[in-house]
C-alpha cells in the first residue's frame, strides 16, 4: 500500500460517554484508513458507534458527557487530537466537512441560506461579503438548485427537505474539502429525492476528487456508492472488506445476518415468497456488554470461547478483515495443513 495515499488514519479510537447509568463505550478501539478520493462506507444499527466515530474525527463530541479517551486520528501528518481548538476550527468545514442526517435541524432557522453558506468562505478564505455571496451562488448552482440567486436569500423553512439537504451539501463542499463525512445524508428523505441526492454526491465526488465517509444503516445505498465497507457492532468494527466481498462473501455472522434479514425488492419474482432470516434478540446495551464477543448473545454459531474471550480483528484475505472466532479457527486449521 502506498503510504502517501492515506488521507485519514484512525488508530485505536476510543470515545466514551459518562452518563448517570455508567460509562458507555460508544466507540471502543476503532482503526481504519481512508485513502485520497476513496468512498468508504460505515454501516451498522443504531447505537453501534458509527456516527460517534465520525463525529470524533471532527472532534464534535459534546464534552461533557462525551470524551475521546484514546487513540490517534492522523489527517495527513497531523494528529487531529493534538490540535488546539482554533487549529481544529480551520480544518472543520474547510478541509474536512460533514453533512448531517436532519436537514431540518442542522440549518439555522434565523439566518438566510446564503448567509450560512457564505460563513465558511468568509472564515476560511477571508473573502469579502460580496465575493462570498458570489461564491455561495456558485455553490448552490453546483448542487443543482434552481434559481440560486433567489434561493440564497431564502430561509431554511421556505425550502423542502431535499432542497435543504442540497444546501447542506453546498455548504459542506464550498471550500472543496479533502474529506466529506456524510452521516445518514438521505435517511430523512423520500426515495425519489434520495436518489437525486445520492446521484448528486457521486457526481460531485468525481468532479472534486474528494474522499467520502458515508455512514448509513441502508445497505442498498452503500452498495451503490462506496468501494469499501466497515461493518460496526456495539462500538467495534466486526468486518471490513471491499463492497463486493461484503455483499458476496461476508464472513462475520452479523454481516451475514444483516444481509439476509433485509427484504429486497423483487425477491418474490426471483425466489418467490420466503420468510426473512432474522437475527434473534436485540443489540446489547453499551452499559452491559457481554463478555467475550459482543455478538455472542445473538450469534447462531456461538461457541464456548466466544463467551470467554474477545476475538481480534484479523486479516483473512488481502483487504478483508473479520473479528470472529470462527474465521480465526478456520485460519488456524488451513495454516496448519
Amino acid at each position: 500500500m502506498d503510504a502517501g495515499n492515506v488521507l485519514l488514519d484512525v488508530r485505536d479510537l476510543r470515545t466514551v460517554f459518562h452518563t448517570f447509568d455508567g460509562v458507555a463505550k460508544a466507540v471502543d478501539g476503532v482503526s481504519y484508513q481512508l485513502k485520497e478520493g476513496e468512498p468508504l462506507g460505515i454501516v451498522g444499527e443504531s447505537g453501534c458507534g458509527k456516527s460517534v466515530s465520525a463525529l470524533s474525527v471532527l472532534r464534535l463530541i459534546p464534552d461533557p458527557p462525551g470524551r475521546i479517551v484514546g487513540g490517534e486520528i492522523f489527517f495527513r501528518e497531523t494528529n487531529l487530537l493534538d490540535l488546539s481548538d482554533s487549529d481544529m476550527r480551520k480544518i472543520r468545514g474547510n478541509r474536512i466537512s460533514m453533512i448531517f442526517q436532519e436537514p431540518m435541524t442542522s440549518l439555522n432557522p434565523v439566518f438566510t441560506v446564503g448567509g450560512q453558506i457564505a460563513e465558511a468562505f468568509r472564515l476560511h478564505q477571508g473573502l469579502s461579503r460580496q465575493e462570498a455571496r458570489e461564491r455561495s451562488v456558485d455553490a448552490l448552482r453546483l448542487v443543482n438548485i434552481p434559481a440560486p440567486e433567489k434561493c440564497i436569500d431564502q430561509y431554511p423553512h421556505e425550502l423542502s427537505g431535499g432542497m435543504r439537504q442540497r444546501v447542506m451539501i453546498a455548504m459542506a463542499l464550498g471550500c472543496k474539502p479533502e474529506i466529506l463525512i456524510a452521516d445518514e445524508p438521505t435517511t430523512a428523505l423520500d426515495v425519489t429525492i434520495q436518489a437525486q441526492i445520492i446521484d448528486l454526491m457521486l457526481q460531485l465526488k468525481e468532479e472534486l476528487g474528494m474522499a467520502i465517509i458515508l455512514i448509513t444503516h441502508d445497505l442498498g445505498i452503500i452498495a451503490e456508492t462506496v468501494s469499501r465497507i466497515i461493518v460496526m457492532y456495539a462500538g467495534k468494527i466486526v468486518e471490513e472488506a471491499s463492497t463486493r466481498t461484503v455483499f458476496k462473501s461476508p464472513l462475520h455472522p452479523y454481516t451475514q445476518g444483516l444481509l439476509q434479514s433485509m427484504p429486497r425488492l423483487g425477491d418474490k419474482v426471483r425466489v418467490g415468497r420466503v420468510r426473512l432470516e432474522e437475527i434473534p434478540g436485540v443489540v446489547p446495551s453499551l452499559y452491559e456488554l457481554p463478555t467475550g464477543c459482543r455478538f455472542s448473545t445473538r450469534c447462531r454459531h456461538v461457541m464456548t470461547i466466544c463467551k470467554q474471550e474477545e476475538p481480534r480483528l484479523e486479516q483473512i484475505e488481502e483487504g478483508h478483515f473479520c473479528r470472529c472466532w470462527l474465521t480465526h479457527q478456520e485460519r488456524q486449521v488451513s495454516g496448519d495443513g
Binding site: 423520500d190 426515495v191 436518489a195 452498495a223 451503490e224 425488492l265
Partner: protein, 326 residues
C-alpha cells in the same frame, strides 16, 4: 371464493387552512383526493408513496379516526362513514391500527398488562380479572414476549419489543383488519425482519387482513399481495405484487421502483431521476397531479385528471399515456 372485506369508494379528506383575523377558511389541503380501492378477506394490501401523499390520512379516514370529507367506506357490508357513534365503536373491534412510532404510541404510565388489557375492558370481553390476565399472557406469548412482561412499563423495552406490544394490543379483540401505519420504519434492520415475520405469522394464525402503509417498497412488497401507489392524494397505480414489480405502467411507479437502491454491487440499475419536488397538496397542479415531474407528459395531462382504469389482471393505472386508459 374471495370475499370483499373492505371497499373504499372515492374517499376524500380535505383539511381546511384557517387564517386571517377571524380564522376564515383560506383554502384546503387535499390530503386524500378521491381514493378508491378494495381489500379481500385474508389479503394484505400495501399503500406506498412518499411523505405527504396521503397514505396515513387514508388509513385514519378509513377508521374514522379523522372524519372523511366525502366518500364511502364499506367494511364487512357496513358503511363506516354513515354509522352512528355506538355502532362505530362496536365496529372498531374489527378494525385495529398499529402505529409507526413505538415510543409515542404506548402510554408510559401504564404497565404493558394495562395497555393490552384496555381494549378487553372497554368491550367487556373478559368477565373477571384472572380471565383477563390469562388473555393478556396469551397475547404476549403470541407476539413473542413473556407473560411476566405484563407487569413492566414501556420504557423497559426496546423499540422492537414495544412494537410487539403495539401489535398485541391491536390483536386483543380478534380484529378482522389490522392497519399498519409504517409498522417497521422506526426499527433497526435486524429488528425489522423480526417484526415483518411476526406480522406474517399472526396473519396466518388469526386469518387477518392487512393494510400496510410504508414508504419502503421492499417491505411492502415482502408482506403484501397487492400494492397501491399513491401520489399527492390519489392512487396512480395498483396491481398484484409481482405484476407491479415486473410490469409497472405509471411513470411515477417506474421512477419510484428505479429509485430504490439495490443492495447488490453487481447490479447497476437504470435509474429514472425525477426532477423537482412533490407539489404542495394545498395547491396541487391541475389535471394529472404528476404531470409537473412526468417524462411522458402530454398536453391533455395538464387539463384532465386520468381515472384509474383496469388494464387486465387486476392491474389498475391512472395515466393518459397508458393505452386503454384515457
Amino acid at each position: 371464493m374471495v370475499e370483499r372485506l373492505l371497499n373504499v369508494e372515492n374517499l376524500k379528506k380535505y383539511f381546511s387552512i384557517k387564517g386571517g383575523l377571524f380564522q376564515k377558511t383560506m383554502g384546503y389541503v387535499r390530503a386524500v383526493d378521491g381514493v378508491s380501492f378494495f381489500l379481500n378477506r385474508g389479503e394484505s394490501l400495501g399503500l406506498v408513496g412518499e411523505s405527504g401523499c396521503g397514505k396515513s390520512t387514508t388509513a385514519r379516514a378509513l377508521l374514522r379516526l379523522i372524519e372523511p370529507t366525502e366518500g364511502k367506506v364499506l367494511f364487512d357490508g357496513k358503511d363506516v362513514c354513515a354509522l352512528p357513534k355506538e355502532e362505530l365503536r362496536q365496529l372498531r373491534r374489527d378494525m385495529q391500527i398499529v402505529f409507526q412510532d413505538p415510543y409515542a404510541s404506548l402510554d408510559p404510565r401504564r404497565s404493558v398488562g394495562q395497555i393490552i388489557g384496555e381494549p378487553l375492558d372497554v368491550f367487556g370481553v373478559c368477565s373477571n380479572r384472572s380471565e383477563r390476565e390469562e388473555r393478556t399472557a396469551c397475547l404476549l406469548k403470541e407476539v413473542g414476549l413473556q407473560p411476566e412482561h405484563a407487569w413492566r412499563y414501556p420504557h423497559e423495552f426496546s423499540g422492537g419489543q414495544r412494537q410487539r406490544i403495539g401489535i398485541a394490543r391491536a390483536l386483543a379483540l380478534n380484529p378482522k383488519l389490522i392497519i399498519g401505519d409504517e409498522p417497521v420504519s422506526a426499527l433497526d434492520v435486524s429488528i425489522q425482519a423480526q417484526i415483518i415475520n411476526l406480522l406474517e405469522d399472526i396473519q396466518e394464525n388469526f386469518g387477518l387482513s392487512y393494510i400496510i402503509i410504508a414508504h419502503d417498497l421492499a417491505v411492502v412488497e415482502h408482506i403484501c399481495d397487492r400494492i397501491a401507489v399513491m401520489y399527492l392524494g390519489r392512487i396512480v397505480e395498483s396491481a398484484p405484487d409481482v405484476e407491479l414489480y415486473t410490469n409497472p405502467k405509471h411513470p411515477y411507479t417506474q421512477a419510484l421502483l428505479s429509485a430504490v437502491p439495490e443492495p447488490d454491487p453487481d447490479i447497476r440499475k437504470e435509474r429514472i431521476i425525477l426532477t423537482g419536488d412533490v407539489p404542495s397538496p394545498s395547491r396541487p397542479p391541475p389535471g394529472c397531479h404528476f404531470h409537473t415531474r412526468c417524462s411522458a407528459r402530454q398536453e391533455v395531462c395538464a387539463v384532465n385528471a386520468p381515472v384509474l382504469v383496469d388494464i387486465g389482471g387486476d392491474h389498475y393505472v391512472a395515466c393518459h399515456s397508458v393505452a386503454g386508459s384515457s
